[in-house]
């Protein structure tokens, strides 16, 4: 599904190397987690995959089902099936949540040469999916993320993910700013999307999100590289002992 080989990235504005050769392969149907201390490059990886400006790729590749992601505009990556759940979803005053999401769904369909979704079908689908995530009609009408609480913003991300039905979902610290109940609700939303044809890359600081979204593979990232890969037990090791032991071990 997603294949990253020797990915090296620096900041565009300054001479600072953030990713120093990342290798990672997420298969369809699998959930991979990336854990790591602050500043290890986790969020940068998610931004570079989705096409945010400000980064310069200095080496390596990233492909989605064999297609070169790094060569595409952000909207093309989305249409190709990549989805990034933002750590900090952006507030966009004046743009209604519904209009935004319907435009997104239909832009992607158009780009893929598919038929656009009718207003009625869209409404039916979004209402059902919003209900599962406890997003009420009033929230759907509001401008995108404006006045949403932290939990509402993350649920709105999951709603977008459900509506856009991507092939590859990257979740950037989706647990940050959530209380236990909100995290459970978000995790349920993500789990409902787990599917044989879909890959997940869950970026997190803490093991607790992985109690709810059970990963198949756990990677530890440090200083711009994946330094250790293992099963779910690796996350528990981090939770119990912190990163220091692992980092010392691989140093």
């Amino acid at each position: 599904m997603l294949e990253i080989k020797g990915l090296k990235v620096k900041l565009e504005e300054e001479d600072k190397q953030i990713l120093k050769g990342v290798d990672l392969k997420v298969e369809a149907g699998k959930v991979h987690a990336i854990m790591g201390p602050n500043g290890s490059g986790k969020s940068t990886l998610s931004y570079v995959l989705s096409g945010k400006s400000g980064y310069e790729v200095t080496g390596g590749s990233a492909t989605l089902e064999g297609d070169d992601l790094l060569d595409m505009e952000p909207e093309e990556r989305a249409a190709a099936g990549l989805f990034l759940a933002f750590q900090y979803p952006v507030e966009i005053p004046g743009v209604g949540n519904m209009t935004f999401l319907r435009t997104a769904v239909n832009s992607q369909r158009k780009a893929r040469g598919e038929e656009e979704m009718s207003a009625t079908d869209f409404l039916k689908e979004i209402r059902a999916k919003a209900k599962d995530l406890k997003i009420n009609a009033e929230m759907l009408k509001r401008p995108v993320n404006v006045g949403f609480s932290g939990g509402e913003k993350k649920r709105n991300e999951v709603l977008q993910m459900a509506m856009l039905a991507p092939k590859m979902c990257v979740l950037d610290e989706t647990d940050s700013g959530l209380d236990v109940d909100a995290m459970k609700l978000v995790a349920e939303g993500v789990n409902a999307l787990r599917d044989e044809g879909r890959g997940f890359l869950v970026i997190t600081h803490y093991q607790r999100l992985l109690d709810h979204i059970k990963p198949d593979v756990v990677h530890i990232m440090a200083n711009g590289r994946i330094v250790k890969t293992g099963g779910p037990e690796l996350a528990i090791e981090v939770e119990n002992n912190g990163y220091a032991d692992i980092l010392a071990e691989v140093a």
């Binding site: 952000p74 909207e75 966009i92 743009v95 935004f100």
Partner: protein, 428 residues
């Protein structure tokens, strides 16, 4: 006499040379002669005047108007889906054939050029324009009062069933039109006035509106899309007790547009909102100059002006709130913002507050910025193409001004025009 005044008076003399003020103006003769004398005495605006520092008045004051190519395009007529009483002017000349019959229950409508004795209009013609000259001179409005060749006089003594729609058609590339309208909304009545069209190659329009106690006046205007046209418009409004005034203007294209709005809140608990959305691409200068005077207790005024500029377009905003002594509990607010779609455009803003009462809330905010990159990336990351995402954010930026239109169908119409403009620009 100082040299500046002398040169302004010379400009006035040159502008008036050979121009024939309408003869047989009957009841308006006195007001016209008075206005003419005022123009000769103040002279015409100069770049050195405080309120013309940002916008060159030359094309508006020149003896001869300049040429403006017609903008030929096919699209549904503005306000075409709305039931309205149509009054059409072609290059400033009233067209009976294209207009509806000038009768509507609740209204008394006449043409300015029909010089029959209309006592209510005789009392008002030039009156608000004259009082609006203090403390800031507006010589182009006085020139209008003196020389206007036509216009409509509307007295609303009851609330009519539909809006009155003034349509300004531009067909002659050299037309130079001067229109002056007078509207009186009687106590308790409500009138909606629509205006649209480029009007002429050069257009000078004056609208005087007297809103009596508990009356309402709603105004929605879309200035035409002809690129080369020049226009100066003045809207003078007086508000009585508990009255409402709401005005919205959409401006797209036009090499030079100066819209002045002068509002006098004279009755307690009155409410005046004036808003504008302007979109300019390239050779475009748009100037909103607003002067709101609070001269009564517990009135609310709000100015919301938004401009989207690119390719060297220029936007100007000069807005003033004057709170006179005794105008306690005034709530005055002013917002002027520009969205610069590139680095070539400019936005010049001058907000002013002058307050002589102590128990008031007045504020202003002026910003100028580019598209928010984080929001743009968020939209694109969801699959929305860049141009569509920018249009989304542009409409979102303008929404606050458009929302000032109370009638949802009219607001939708304006939004439709905005989307059309954006789509055409994105395509080009």
């Amino acid at each position: 006499m100082n040299a500046l005044l002398k040169s302004k008076q010379e400009a006035a003399a040159s502008r008036l040379d050979g121009v024939q003020a309408p003869t047989d103006a009957g009841w308006s003769t006195h007001a016209r002669e008075d206005a003419l004398a005022r123009v000769r005495s103040t002279g015409l605006p100069s770049r050195r005047d405080e309120y013309w520092k940002f916008t060159r008045p030359d094309r508006l004051t020149a003896a001869e108007g300049s040429e403006a190519a017609l903008f030929l395009h096919e699209e549904a007529p503005v306000f075409g889906d709305h039931d309205r009483l149509k009054i059409v002017f072609v290059d400033g000349v009233f067209s009976a054939e294209r207009s509806d019959d000038l009768t509507l229950e609740g209204l008394e409508i006449s043409r300015l050029a029909d010089a029959s004795d209309i006592s209510w209009a005789a009392e008002l013609y030039g009156k608000l324009e004259t009082s609006g000259q203090t403390p800031v001179e507006r010589p182009l409005a006085a020139l209008n009062t003196a020389l206007a060749t036509d216009g409509v006089l509307i007295r609303a003594f009851e609330t009519p069933s539909k809006p009155v729609s003034l349509i300004y058609v531009h067909e002659d590339t050299h037309s130079d039109a001067i229109l002056h309208h007078v509207i009186k909304v009687e106590a308790g009545a409500s009138l909606t006035l629509l205006e649209n069209g480029p009007a002429a190659a050069r257009f000078n329009k004056c609208l005087e509106v007297d809103i009596a106690d508990s009356a309402e006046f709603h105004h929605v205007r879309a200035q035409g899309r002809d690129h080369e046209r020049c226009a100066v418009t003045h809207l003078f409004a007086r508000l009585g007790e508990e009255s409402t005034f709401k005005s919205f203007t959409l401006t797209v294209n036009g090499v030079l547009t100066r819209n002045e709005v002068v509002i006098d809140l004279t009755g307690d608990n009155a409410f005046a909102h004036v808003a504008g959305a302007a979109l300019g691409d390239g050779d475009f200068v748009h100037d909103d100059t607003v002067f709101v005077t609070h001269d009564a207790v517990n009135c609310e005024s709000r100015q919301v002006f938004k401009k989207v500029l690119r390719n060297g377009a220029t936007g100007v905003f000069q807005g003033k709130i004057l709170v006179k002594a005794g105008a306690q509990k005034t709530d005055g607010y002013q917002k002027s913002q520009s969205l610069m779609l590139d680095g070539d455009s400019q936005f010049l803003a001058k907000p002013e507050l002058e307050i002589y009462a102590d128990d008031v809330a007045c504020s202003h905010g002026s910003t100028s910025g580019a598209i928010d990159e984080d929001a743009l990336f968020y939209l694109r990351a969801r699959g929305i193409p860049k141009t569509v995402a920018i249009d989304f954010m542009t409409l979102a930026f303008l929404a606050e001004a458009v929302e000032e239109i109370d009638n949802q169908a009219l607001a939708d119409e304006i939004n439709g025009r905005l989307e059309g403009w954006l789509t055409r620009r994105s395509a080009s």
